[in-house]
Protein backbone atom coordinates (compact mmCIF):
# COMPACT_ATOMS: atom_id res chain seq x y z
CA UNK A 1 0.00 0.00 0.00
CA UNK A 2 1.19 3.51 -0.75
CA UNK A 3 -0.57 4.83 2.32
CA UNK A 4 -2.26 3.00 5.12
CA UNK A 5 -3.85 4.34 8.25
CA UNK A 6 -4.97 2.06 11.04
CA UNK A 7 -7.37 3.05 13.79
CA UNK A 8 -6.64 6.75 13.33
CA UNK A 9 -8.38 8.80 15.98
CA UNK A 10 -8.48 12.47 16.92
CA UNK A 11 -10.88 14.26 19.23
CA UNK A 12 -11.57 17.90 19.93
CA UNK A 13 -13.06 17.90 23.40
CA UNK A 14 -16.05 15.58 23.29
CA UNK A 15 -16.18 15.57 19.50
CA UNK A 16 -14.41 12.65 17.85
CA UNK A 17 -13.61 14.32 14.53
CA UNK A 18 -11.80 11.24 13.27
CA UNK A 19 -12.98 8.13 15.04
CA UNK A 20 -10.93 5.07 14.18
CA UNK A 21 -10.33 5.41 10.46
CA UNK A 22 -8.70 2.61 8.49
CA UNK A 23 -7.66 3.83 5.09
CA UNK A 24 -5.69 1.96 2.45
CA UNK A 25 -4.51 3.69 -0.71
CA UNK A 26 -3.02 1.44 -3.39
CA UNK A 27 0.18 2.50 -5.20
CA UNK A 28 -0.64 4.57 -8.26
CA UNK A 29 -4.27 4.95 -7.23
CA UNK A 30 -6.39 8.04 -7.77
CA UNK A 31 -8.10 7.79 -4.44
CA UNK A 32 -10.78 10.27 -3.41
CA UNK A 33 -11.87 11.02 0.11
CA UNK A 34 -15.40 12.42 0.21
CA UNK A 35 -18.04 13.05 2.79
CA UNK A 36 -20.56 15.65 3.88
CA UNK A 37 -19.52 18.73 5.85
CA UNK A 38 -18.11 17.82 9.24
CA UNK A 39 -17.32 14.26 8.21
CA UNK A 40 -13.71 14.68 9.38
CA UNK A 41 -12.06 14.91 5.97
CA UNK A 42 -9.85 17.86 6.76
CA UNK A 43 -8.84 16.46 10.13
CA UNK A 44 -7.97 13.12 8.57
CA UNK A 45 -5.96 14.96 5.93
CA UNK A 46 -3.98 16.77 8.62
CA UNK A 47 -3.36 13.55 10.54
CA UNK A 48 -2.01 11.93 7.39
CA UNK A 49 0.27 14.83 6.49
CA UNK A 50 1.49 15.19 10.06
CA UNK A 51 0.26 18.76 10.50
CA UNK A 52 -1.80 17.46 13.40
CA UNK A 53 -0.93 14.67 15.83
CA UNK A 54 -3.25 11.69 16.13
CA UNK A 55 -4.58 10.66 19.53
CA UNK A 56 -4.35 7.02 18.51
CA UNK A 57 -3.64 4.89 15.46
CA UNK A 58 -0.83 4.67 12.96
CA UNK A 59 0.03 6.10 9.55
CA UNK A 60 2.24 4.13 7.17
CA UNK A 61 3.81 5.58 4.06
CA UNK A 62 4.82 2.70 1.81
CA UNK A 63 6.16 0.14 4.28
CA UNK A 64 7.34 2.72 6.75
CA UNK A 65 5.55 3.74 9.92
CA UNK A 66 5.56 7.55 9.91
CA UNK A 67 3.18 8.08 12.85
CA UNK A 68 5.88 9.65 15.02
CA UNK A 69 7.41 11.76 12.26
CA UNK A 70 6.85 15.45 11.72
CA UNK A 71 5.31 16.84 8.58
CA UNK A 72 8.80 18.00 7.52
CA UNK A 73 10.13 14.44 7.75
CA UNK A 74 7.07 13.00 6.00
CA UNK A 75 7.60 15.46 3.16
CA UNK A 76 11.21 14.31 2.85
CA UNK A 77 9.92 10.73 2.54
CA UNK A 78 7.80 11.60 -0.48
CA UNK A 79 4.54 12.85 0.95
CA UNK A 80 3.52 16.13 -0.57
CA UNK A 81 0.39 18.21 -0.18
CA UNK A 82 -1.53 21.10 -1.59
CA UNK A 83 -3.40 23.29 0.81
CA UNK A 84 -7.03 24.22 0.75
CA UNK A 85 -6.33 27.94 1.09
CA UNK A 86 -3.69 28.62 -1.51
CA UNK A 87 -2.03 31.51 0.28
CA UNK A 88 1.54 30.52 -0.63
CA UNK A 89 4.19 33.25 -0.49
CA UNK A 90 2.84 36.77 -0.88
CA UNK A 91 6.13 38.47 -1.67
CA UNK A 92 7.27 36.07 -4.40
CA UNK A 93 6.64 35.42 -8.05
CA UNK A 94 5.25 32.12 -9.26
CA UNK A 95 8.68 30.92 -10.38
CA UNK A 96 10.30 31.90 -7.07
CA UNK A 97 7.59 30.01 -5.22
CA UNK A 98 8.15 26.80 -7.14
CA UNK A 99 11.93 27.28 -7.02
CA UNK A 100 11.71 27.34 -3.23
CA UNK A 101 10.22 23.85 -3.29
CA UNK A 102 12.58 22.64 -6.04
CA UNK A 103 15.77 23.71 -4.26
CA UNK A 104 14.74 21.74 -1.20
CA UNK A 105 14.15 18.51 -3.09
CA UNK A 106 16.52 18.39 -6.06
CA UNK A 107 19.64 17.94 -3.97
CA UNK A 108 20.95 21.46 -4.57
CA UNK A 109 22.68 23.00 -1.59
CA UNK A 110 20.78 25.74 0.20
CA UNK A 111 23.78 27.95 0.80
CA UNK A 112 23.75 31.13 2.85
CA UNK A 113 25.57 32.89 0.01
CA UNK A 114 24.18 33.69 -3.45
CA UNK A 115 24.69 31.18 -6.22
CA UNK A 116 23.31 30.69 -9.66
CA UNK A 117 20.49 28.20 -9.65
CA UNK A 118 19.90 27.78 -13.32
CA UNK A 119 18.81 24.14 -13.01
CA UNK A 120 16.40 25.04 -10.20
CA UNK A 121 14.84 27.85 -12.22
CA UNK A 122 14.52 25.71 -15.32
CA UNK A 123 12.89 22.91 -13.35
CA UNK A 124 10.52 25.44 -11.74
CA UNK A 125 9.48 26.83 -15.11
CA UNK A 126 9.00 23.30 -16.43
CA UNK A 127 6.69 22.49 -13.53
CA UNK A 128 4.76 25.71 -14.07
CA UNK A 129 4.27 24.83 -17.72
CA UNK A 130 3.10 21.38 -16.64
CA UNK A 131 0.19 22.80 -14.67
CA UNK A 132 -0.73 25.31 -17.35
CA UNK A 133 1.06 28.35 -15.97
CA UNK A 134 3.65 28.73 -18.72
CA UNK A 135 4.43 32.41 -19.19
CA UNK A 136 3.04 33.35 -15.75
CA UNK A 137 6.33 32.69 -13.97
CA UNK A 138 7.27 36.31 -13.31
CA UNK A 139 3.81 37.20 -11.99
CA UNK A 140 3.70 37.95 -8.25
CA UNK A 141 1.60 35.35 -6.43
CA UNK A 142 -0.97 37.89 -5.13
CA UNK A 143 -1.64 38.93 -8.74
CA UNK A 144 -2.58 35.40 -9.80
CA UNK A 145 -6.25 34.49 -9.95
CA UNK A 146 -7.64 32.08 -7.38
CA UNK A 147 -7.67 29.26 -9.91
CA UNK A 148 -4.11 29.99 -10.99
CA UNK A 149 -2.98 29.91 -7.40
CA UNK A 150 -4.53 26.47 -7.04
CA UNK A 151 -2.62 25.37 -10.14
CA UNK A 152 0.52 26.86 -8.60
CA UNK A 153 -0.15 24.83 -5.46
CA UNK A 154 -0.07 21.67 -7.57
CA UNK A 155 3.22 22.73 -9.21
CA UNK A 156 4.74 23.44 -5.80
CA UNK A 157 3.57 20.08 -4.46
CA UNK A 158 4.99 18.27 -7.51
CA UNK A 159 8.33 20.05 -7.02
CA UNK A 160 8.71 18.02 -3.83
CA UNK A 161 9.06 14.88 -6.01
CA UNK A 162 6.24 13.11 -4.21
CA UNK A 163 5.39 9.43 -4.33
CA UNK A 164 2.13 10.33 -2.62
CA UNK A 165 0.37 13.57 -3.47
CA UNK A 166 -2.37 14.78 -1.15
CA UNK A 167 -4.76 17.37 -2.53
CA UNK A 168 -6.98 19.24 -0.07
CA UNK A 169 -10.07 20.46 -1.94
CA UNK A 170 -8.13 21.39 -5.07
CA UNK A 171 -11.24 22.61 -6.88
CA UNK A 172 -12.66 24.76 -4.07
CA UNK A 173 -13.63 28.17 -5.40
CA UNK A 174 -12.72 27.36 -8.98
CA UNK A 175 -14.70 28.36 -12.04
CA UNK A 176 -16.01 25.64 -14.37
CA UNK A 177 -13.22 26.31 -16.87
CA UNK A 178 -10.58 26.15 -14.14
CA UNK A 179 -12.09 22.90 -12.90
CA UNK A 180 -11.85 21.37 -16.35
CA UNK A 181 -8.24 22.49 -16.55
CA UNK A 182 -7.55 20.94 -13.13
CA UNK A 183 -9.03 17.61 -14.21
CA UNK A 184 -6.70 17.72 -17.21
CA UNK A 185 -3.67 18.48 -15.03
CA UNK A 186 -4.54 15.64 -12.67
CA UNK A 187 -5.06 13.25 -15.56
CA UNK A 188 -1.62 14.11 -16.93
CA UNK A 189 0.22 13.37 -13.68
CA UNK A 190 2.73 10.53 -13.89
CA UNK A 191 1.08 7.18 -13.11
CA UNK A 192 3.62 6.32 -10.40
CA UNK A 193 2.43 9.21 -8.23
CA UNK A 194 -0.33 8.07 -5.90
CA UNK A 195 -3.09 10.63 -5.44
CA UNK A 196 -5.30 11.16 -2.45
CA UNK A 197 -7.89 13.86 -3.11
CA UNK A 198 -10.12 15.39 -0.50
CA UNK A 199 -12.93 17.01 -2.43
CA UNK A 200 -16.43 18.37 -2.15
CA UNK A 201 -17.17 18.42 -5.85
CA UNK A 202 -18.49 14.96 -6.68
CA UNK A 203 -18.40 15.54 -10.44
CA UNK A 204 -14.66 16.13 -10.22
CA UNK A 205 -14.24 13.11 -7.94
CA UNK A 206 -16.09 10.77 -10.29
CA UNK A 207 -14.16 12.01 -13.31
CA UNK A 208 -10.73 11.57 -11.69
CA UNK A 209 -10.91 8.89 -9.01
CA UNK A 210 -10.61 5.14 -9.43
CA UNK A 211 -11.26 4.50 -5.74
CA UNK A 212 -13.43 6.40 -3.28
CA UNK A 213 -13.64 6.38 0.48
CA UNK A 214 -16.70 8.00 2.03
CA UNK A 215 -16.30 9.47 5.47
CA UNK A 216 -19.27 10.19 7.69
CA UNK A 217 -19.17 11.48 11.28
CA UNK A 218 -15.51 10.57 11.62
CA UNK A 219 -15.86 7.01 10.41
CA UNK A 220 -15.46 5.25 7.10
CA UNK A 221 -18.92 4.69 5.69
CA UNK A 222 -17.84 2.94 2.54
CA UNK A 223 -14.75 2.27 0.50
CA UNK A 224 -15.06 1.13 -3.06
CA UNK A 225 -15.09 1.99 -6.73
CA UNK A 226 -16.86 5.15 -7.89
CA UNK A 227 -19.73 3.06 -9.23
CA UNK A 228 -20.26 1.30 -5.92
CA UNK A 229 -20.27 4.63 -4.11
CA UNK A 230 -22.69 6.15 -6.57
CA UNK A 231 -25.04 3.22 -6.17
CA UNK A 232 -24.91 3.12 -2.38
CA UNK A 233 -28.03 4.01 -0.41
CA UNK A 234 -25.96 4.65 2.73
CA UNK A 235 -23.93 7.32 0.98
CA UNK A 236 -27.04 8.98 -0.33
CA UNK A 237 -28.46 9.01 3.18
CA UNK A 238 -25.30 10.50 4.62
CA UNK A 239 -25.26 13.26 2.05
CA UNK A 240 -28.95 13.99 1.97
CA UNK A 241 -29.67 13.17 5.60
CA UNK A 242 -32.84 11.18 4.84
CA UNK A 243 -33.65 7.52 5.30
CA UNK A 244 -35.29 7.14 1.98
CA UNK A 245 -35.18 9.21 -1.08
CA UNK A 246 -38.94 9.66 -1.08
CA UNK A 247 -38.85 11.34 2.33
CA UNK A 248 -36.95 14.23 0.86
CA UNK A 249 -39.61 15.03 -1.63
CA UNK A 250 -42.69 14.74 0.55
CA UNK A 251 -43.39 18.49 0.41
Amino acid sequence: MALRSTGLRRSFGALAAVDGVDLAVAPGARHALIGPNGAGKSTLFKLVTGTMRADAGTVELGDRDVTGLSEVARCRLGMSQTMQHASLFGSMTATETVALAVQRHDGSRITPWPRRQRAVRERAEELLAGVGLAGRGSTPVPSLSHGERKQLEVAVALACKPSLLLLDEPAAGMSAAERARLVEVLAELPADITLLIVEHDLDLVFSVADAVTVLHLGRVLLSGTPDEVRASEDVREAYLGAKRREELFLG
Partner: protein, 333 residues
Protein backbone atom coordinates in the same frame (compact mmCIF):
# COMPACT_ATOMS: atom_id res chain seq x y z
CA UNK B 1 20.58 49.39 -46.51
CA UNK B 2 18.70 52.07 -44.65
CA UNK B 3 16.06 49.56 -43.62
CA UNK B 4 18.70 47.35 -42.01
CA UNK B 5 20.29 50.28 -40.25
CA UNK B 6 17.04 51.48 -38.75
CA UNK B 7 16.11 48.02 -37.47
CA UNK B 8 19.18 47.58 -35.33
CA UNK B 9 18.62 50.46 -32.90
CA UNK B 10 14.96 49.49 -32.57
CA UNK B 11 15.90 45.96 -31.54
CA UNK B 12 18.54 47.18 -29.09
CA UNK B 13 16.55 49.99 -27.57
CA UNK B 14 14.72 48.04 -24.82
CA UNK B 15 17.92 46.30 -23.68
CA UNK B 16 19.81 49.53 -22.97
CA UNK B 17 17.66 51.07 -20.24
CA UNK B 18 17.32 47.62 -18.67
CA UNK B 19 21.06 47.21 -18.42
CA UNK B 20 21.32 50.72 -17.05
CA UNK B 21 18.57 50.05 -14.56
CA UNK B 22 20.24 46.88 -13.38
CA UNK B 23 23.64 48.53 -13.15
CA UNK B 24 22.36 51.65 -11.44
CA UNK B 25 22.02 50.23 -7.90
CA UNK B 26 25.59 48.97 -8.11
CA UNK B 27 26.86 52.37 -9.22
CA UNK B 28 24.87 54.10 -6.49
CA UNK B 29 26.18 51.64 -3.86
CA UNK B 30 29.81 52.24 -4.88
CA UNK B 31 29.22 56.00 -4.97
CA UNK B 32 27.64 55.99 -1.49
CA UNK B 33 30.54 54.02 -0.03
CA UNK B 34 33.05 56.37 -1.70
CA UNK B 35 31.27 59.46 -0.41
CA UNK B 36 31.07 57.93 3.07
CA UNK B 37 34.77 57.06 2.93
CA UNK B 38 35.70 60.57 1.86
CA UNK B 39 33.42 62.25 4.42
CA UNK B 40 35.97 62.79 7.24
CA UNK B 41 38.16 64.73 4.81
CA UNK B 42 35.45 67.39 4.57
CA UNK B 43 33.62 67.16 7.90
CA UNK B 44 34.44 68.61 11.29
CA UNK B 45 35.49 66.02 13.91
CA UNK B 46 32.16 66.34 15.69
CA UNK B 47 30.23 65.58 12.50
CA UNK B 48 32.59 62.68 11.81
CA UNK B 49 31.78 61.27 15.24
CA UNK B 50 28.04 61.57 14.53
CA UNK B 51 28.60 59.76 11.24
CA UNK B 52 30.52 57.06 13.11
CA UNK B 53 27.56 56.61 15.43
CA UNK B 54 25.24 56.39 12.43
CA UNK B 55 27.33 53.61 10.89
CA UNK B 56 27.37 51.69 14.19
CA UNK B 57 23.63 52.02 14.60
CA UNK B 58 23.03 51.19 10.93
CA UNK B 59 24.84 47.86 11.26
CA UNK B 60 22.79 47.12 14.36
CA UNK B 61 19.57 48.02 12.52
CA UNK B 62 20.59 45.85 9.55
CA UNK B 63 21.10 42.87 11.87
CA UNK B 64 17.62 43.47 13.29
CA UNK B 65 16.16 43.81 9.80
CA UNK B 66 17.48 40.32 9.04
CA UNK B 67 15.11 39.11 11.76
CA UNK B 68 12.19 41.51 11.34
CA UNK B 69 12.14 42.26 7.64
CA UNK B 70 13.62 39.14 6.06
CA UNK B 71 12.45 36.36 8.41
CA UNK B 72 9.40 38.04 9.96
CA UNK B 73 10.56 37.75 13.58
CA UNK B 74 9.80 41.09 15.26
CA UNK B 75 12.25 41.25 18.16
CA UNK B 76 11.86 43.79 20.96
CA UNK B 77 15.04 42.74 22.71
CA UNK B 78 17.67 42.80 20.02
CA UNK B 79 19.73 45.37 21.97
CA UNK B 80 20.57 42.53 24.40
CA UNK B 81 22.97 41.06 21.82
CA UNK B 82 24.21 44.49 20.76
CA UNK B 83 24.93 45.34 24.40
CA UNK B 84 26.40 41.93 25.21
CA UNK B 85 28.83 42.36 22.31
CA UNK B 86 29.67 45.88 23.49
CA UNK B 87 30.31 44.79 27.09
CA UNK B 88 32.41 41.82 26.03
CA UNK B 89 34.46 43.89 23.58
CA UNK B 90 34.92 46.59 26.23
CA UNK B 91 35.92 44.09 28.89
CA UNK B 92 38.45 42.38 26.67
CA UNK B 93 39.86 45.77 25.60
CA UNK B 94 40.45 46.72 29.24
CA UNK B 95 41.64 43.41 30.59
CA UNK B 96 43.29 41.60 27.70
CA UNK B 97 44.03 43.57 24.55
CA UNK B 98 42.49 46.30 22.42
CA UNK B 99 44.39 45.11 19.33
CA UNK B 100 42.11 45.37 16.32
CA UNK B 101 40.41 42.14 15.42
CA UNK B 102 40.23 40.87 19.01
CA UNK B 103 37.44 43.09 20.49
CA UNK B 104 35.54 42.66 17.23
CA UNK B 105 35.73 38.87 17.28
CA UNK B 106 34.92 38.75 20.98
CA UNK B 107 31.88 40.97 20.35
CA UNK B 108 30.72 38.75 17.48
CA UNK B 109 31.22 35.57 19.50
CA UNK B 110 29.43 36.97 22.56
CA UNK B 111 26.48 38.17 20.49
CA UNK B 112 26.28 34.75 18.83
CA UNK B 113 26.54 32.82 22.10
CA UNK B 114 23.95 35.03 23.81
CA UNK B 115 21.60 34.55 20.85
CA UNK B 116 22.28 30.81 20.79
CA UNK B 117 21.47 30.51 24.50
CA UNK B 118 18.21 32.46 24.27
CA UNK B 119 17.20 31.77 20.69
CA UNK B 120 16.29 28.10 21.04
CA UNK B 121 13.29 29.08 23.15
CA UNK B 122 12.24 32.25 21.33
CA UNK B 123 12.18 30.79 17.81
CA UNK B 124 9.68 28.14 18.90
CA UNK B 125 7.14 30.89 19.34
CA UNK B 126 5.68 33.39 16.93
CA UNK B 127 3.78 36.65 16.81
CA UNK B 128 2.99 38.27 20.13
CA UNK B 129 4.71 35.51 22.11
CA UNK B 130 7.92 36.16 20.24
CA UNK B 131 7.59 39.88 20.98
CA UNK B 132 7.03 39.26 24.69
CA UNK B 133 9.80 36.69 25.04
CA UNK B 134 12.40 38.87 23.32
CA UNK B 135 11.24 41.81 25.45
CA UNK B 136 11.67 39.71 28.61
CA UNK B 137 15.12 38.54 27.53
CA UNK B 138 16.16 42.12 26.80
CA UNK B 139 15.01 43.25 30.25
CA UNK B 140 16.74 40.31 31.93
CA UNK B 141 20.04 41.02 30.21
CA UNK B 142 19.78 44.69 31.19
CA UNK B 143 19.20 43.69 34.81
CA UNK B 144 22.24 41.46 34.59
CA UNK B 145 24.31 44.37 33.28
CA UNK B 146 23.02 46.53 36.14
CA UNK B 147 23.81 44.09 38.93
CA UNK B 148 26.92 42.20 37.83
CA UNK B 149 29.18 45.06 38.91
CA UNK B 150 32.51 43.21 38.81
CA UNK B 151 32.25 42.64 35.08
CA UNK B 152 30.02 45.44 33.85
CA UNK B 153 30.56 48.30 36.29
CA UNK B 154 26.89 48.20 37.25
CA UNK B 155 24.75 51.27 36.70
CA UNK B 156 27.82 53.43 36.05
CA UNK B 157 28.66 51.31 33.06
CA UNK B 158 31.98 49.96 31.86
CA UNK B 159 34.28 52.99 31.82
CA UNK B 160 37.86 53.60 30.80
CA UNK B 161 37.82 51.45 27.71
CA UNK B 162 41.06 52.08 25.78
CA UNK B 163 41.08 53.05 22.10
CA UNK B 164 41.06 50.28 19.56
CA UNK B 165 44.61 49.60 18.33
CA UNK B 166 45.36 48.79 14.74
CA UNK B 167 48.81 47.21 14.28
CA UNK B 168 49.85 48.65 17.63
CA UNK B 169 48.66 52.20 16.87
CA UNK B 170 45.69 53.42 18.94
CA UNK B 171 42.94 54.92 16.76
CA UNK B 172 42.52 58.18 18.66
CA UNK B 173 41.85 60.40 15.65
CA UNK B 174 38.11 60.62 14.93
CA UNK B 175 38.73 60.17 11.20
CA UNK B 176 40.80 56.98 11.56
CA UNK B 177 38.29 55.57 14.01
CA UNK B 178 35.52 56.38 11.55
CA UNK B 179 37.31 54.53 8.76
CA UNK B 180 37.75 51.51 11.01
CA UNK B 181 34.05 51.53 11.91
CA UNK B 182 33.01 52.15 8.30
CA UNK B 183 35.15 49.30 6.98
CA UNK B 184 33.68 46.81 9.44
CA UNK B 185 30.19 48.25 8.88
CA UNK B 186 30.44 47.82 5.11
CA UNK B 187 31.73 44.25 5.47
CA UNK B 188 28.93 43.44 7.94
CA UNK B 189 26.32 44.97 5.66
CA UNK B 190 27.69 43.04 2.66
CA UNK B 191 27.55 39.82 4.66
CA UNK B 192 23.89 40.28 5.60
CA UNK B 193 23.07 41.42 2.07
CA UNK B 194 24.63 38.26 0.60
CA UNK B 195 22.75 36.07 3.05
CA UNK B 196 19.48 37.81 2.16
CA UNK B 197 20.04 37.13 -1.54
CA UNK B 198 21.08 33.51 -1.13
CA UNK B 199 18.93 30.39 -1.52
CA UNK B 200 18.94 30.26 2.27
CA UNK B 201 17.68 33.85 2.37
CA UNK B 202 14.87 32.86 -0.01
CA UNK B 203 13.86 30.19 2.50
CA UNK B 204 13.85 32.83 5.26
CA UNK B 205 11.48 34.99 3.21
CA UNK B 206 9.32 31.92 2.66
CA UNK B 207 9.12 31.49 6.44
CA UNK B 208 8.13 35.14 6.80
CA UNK B 209 5.40 34.79 4.17
CA UNK B 210 3.94 31.44 5.21
CA UNK B 211 5.66 29.27 7.78
CA UNK B 212 3.20 26.34 7.77
CA UNK B 213 3.57 26.08 3.99
CA UNK B 214 7.36 26.00 4.35
CA UNK B 215 7.10 23.12 6.82
CA UNK B 216 4.83 21.28 4.41
CA UNK B 217 7.53 21.77 1.75
CA UNK B 218 9.99 19.95 3.98
CA UNK B 219 11.85 22.91 5.46
CA UNK B 220 12.66 22.47 9.17
CA UNK B 221 11.69 26.07 9.86
CA UNK B 222 12.72 26.10 13.53
CA UNK B 223 16.31 25.29 12.50
CA UNK B 224 16.30 28.10 9.96
CA UNK B 225 14.87 30.58 12.45
CA UNK B 226 17.39 29.53 15.09
CA UNK B 227 20.31 29.92 12.69
CA UNK B 228 19.21 33.37 11.55
CA UNK B 229 18.61 34.41 15.16
CA UNK B 230 22.20 33.45 16.04
CA UNK B 231 23.55 35.18 12.93
CA UNK B 232 21.63 38.36 13.72
CA UNK B 233 22.89 38.20 17.30
CA UNK B 234 26.44 37.86 16.04
CA UNK B 235 26.17 40.84 13.68
CA UNK B 236 24.58 42.85 16.50
CA UNK B 237 27.56 41.84 18.66
CA UNK B 238 29.93 43.19 16.01
CA UNK B 239 27.95 46.45 15.98
CA UNK B 240 28.28 46.47 19.78
CA UNK B 241 32.06 46.16 19.54
CA UNK B 242 32.04 49.15 17.16
CA UNK B 243 29.89 51.07 19.64
CA UNK B 244 32.40 50.58 22.43
CA UNK B 245 35.24 51.49 20.06
CA UNK B 246 33.48 54.78 19.36
CA UNK B 247 32.15 55.86 22.78
CA UNK B 248 34.74 53.95 24.88
CA UNK B 249 32.05 53.34 27.43
CA UNK B 250 29.12 50.93 27.74
CA UNK B 251 26.17 51.54 30.00
CA UNK B 252 23.08 49.46 30.71
CA UNK B 253 21.16 51.99 28.56
CA UNK B 254 22.94 50.60 25.50
CA UNK B 255 21.09 47.30 25.87
CA UNK B 256 17.83 48.78 27.07
CA UNK B 257 14.40 48.39 25.57
CA UNK B 258 14.73 51.96 24.29
CA UNK B 259 17.76 51.01 22.19
CA UNK B 260 15.89 47.97 20.83
CA UNK B 261 12.88 50.09 19.95
CA UNK B 262 15.02 52.75 18.25
CA UNK B 263 16.51 50.03 16.07
CA UNK B 264 13.03 48.75 15.30
CA UNK B 265 12.03 52.32 14.46
CA UNK B 266 14.99 52.58 12.07
CA UNK B 267 13.88 49.37 10.36
CA UNK B 268 10.29 50.61 10.02
CA UNK B 269 11.32 54.05 8.76
CA UNK B 270 13.54 52.42 6.15
CA UNK B 271 10.98 49.81 5.18
CA UNK B 272 11.21 46.36 6.79
CA UNK B 273 13.04 43.91 4.57
CA UNK B 274 15.12 46.56 2.83
CA UNK B 275 18.66 46.53 4.19
CA UNK B 276 19.69 49.89 2.76
CA UNK B 277 16.40 51.26 4.06
CA UNK B 278 17.42 50.19 7.57
CA UNK B 279 20.67 52.17 7.18
CA UNK B 280 18.71 55.22 6.09
CA UNK B 281 16.33 54.78 9.01
CA UNK B 282 19.30 54.48 11.39
CA UNK B 283 20.67 57.77 10.05
CA UNK B 284 17.32 59.48 10.66
CA UNK B 285 17.07 58.08 14.19
CA UNK B 286 20.63 59.05 15.19
CA UNK B 287 20.39 62.51 13.62
CA UNK B 288 17.04 63.32 15.21
CA UNK B 289 18.05 61.92 18.58
CA UNK B 290 21.48 63.44 18.89
CA UNK B 291 21.62 66.51 16.68
CA UNK B 292 18.06 67.74 16.67
CA UNK B 293 17.44 66.43 20.20
CA UNK B 294 20.19 68.63 21.62
CA UNK B 295 18.73 71.78 20.10
CA UNK B 296 15.21 70.81 21.17
CA UNK B 297 16.16 70.63 24.84
CA UNK B 298 16.29 66.83 24.83
CA UNK B 299 12.98 66.28 23.12
CA UNK B 300 14.47 64.16 20.35
CA UNK B 301 12.26 61.13 21.11
CA UNK B 302 9.20 63.35 20.65
CA UNK B 303 10.32 64.21 17.12
CA UNK B 304 11.09 60.53 16.49
CA UNK B 305 7.57 59.68 17.56
CA UNK B 306 6.20 62.19 15.06
CA UNK B 307 8.48 60.83 12.35
CA UNK B 308 7.24 57.34 13.14
CA UNK B 309 3.57 58.37 12.89
CA UNK B 310 4.23 60.20 9.61
CA UNK B 311 6.11 57.24 8.12
CA UNK B 312 3.38 54.79 9.09
CA UNK B 313 0.73 57.03 7.53
CA UNK B 314 2.53 58.33 4.47
CA UNK B 315 5.00 55.53 3.66
CA UNK B 316 3.56 52.26 4.87
CA UNK B 317 6.45 50.43 3.24
CA UNK B 318 9.07 52.83 4.55
CA UNK B 319 11.64 54.76 2.57
CA UNK B 320 12.30 51.64 0.49
CA UNK B 321 8.68 51.74 -0.66
CA UNK B 322 9.27 55.04 -2.44
CA UNK B 323 9.29 54.68 -6.19
CA UNK B 324 10.32 57.16 -8.82
CA UNK B 325 7.55 57.73 -11.34
CA UNK B 326 8.30 55.66 -14.41
CA UNK B 327 7.06 55.67 -17.93
CA UNK B 328 6.64 51.91 -18.30
CA UNK B 329 4.27 51.17 -15.47
CA UNK B 330 4.10 47.45 -16.23
CA UNK B 331 7.41 46.74 -14.54
CA UNK B 332 7.58 46.67 -10.79
CA UNK B 333 11.28 45.99 -10.17
Amino acid sequence: MTAVQTRIPVADAPAEPNRLRRGLPRIVAVAVVLVLAAAPLFLAPFATTTLTRIVVFALFAVSLDLLVGITGLPSLGHAAYFGAGAYAAGWVSINVTAEAPVPLLVGAATGAVAAALTGWITVRTGGVFFLMLTLAIGETVQQLANTWEDATGGANGLTGVPSVRLAGEPLVNAGYLYWYVLAIGVVGFALVWLVARSPWGAALRGIRDNEPRMRALGYPTAVYKYAVFVLAGSVAGVAGSLLVAQQRLVTPADLSFLTSSFALLAVVIGGAGSLWGACLGAAVVVLVRETLGASLDGHGPLVLGLVFVLVVYLLPRGAAGLRWPRRDKGRST
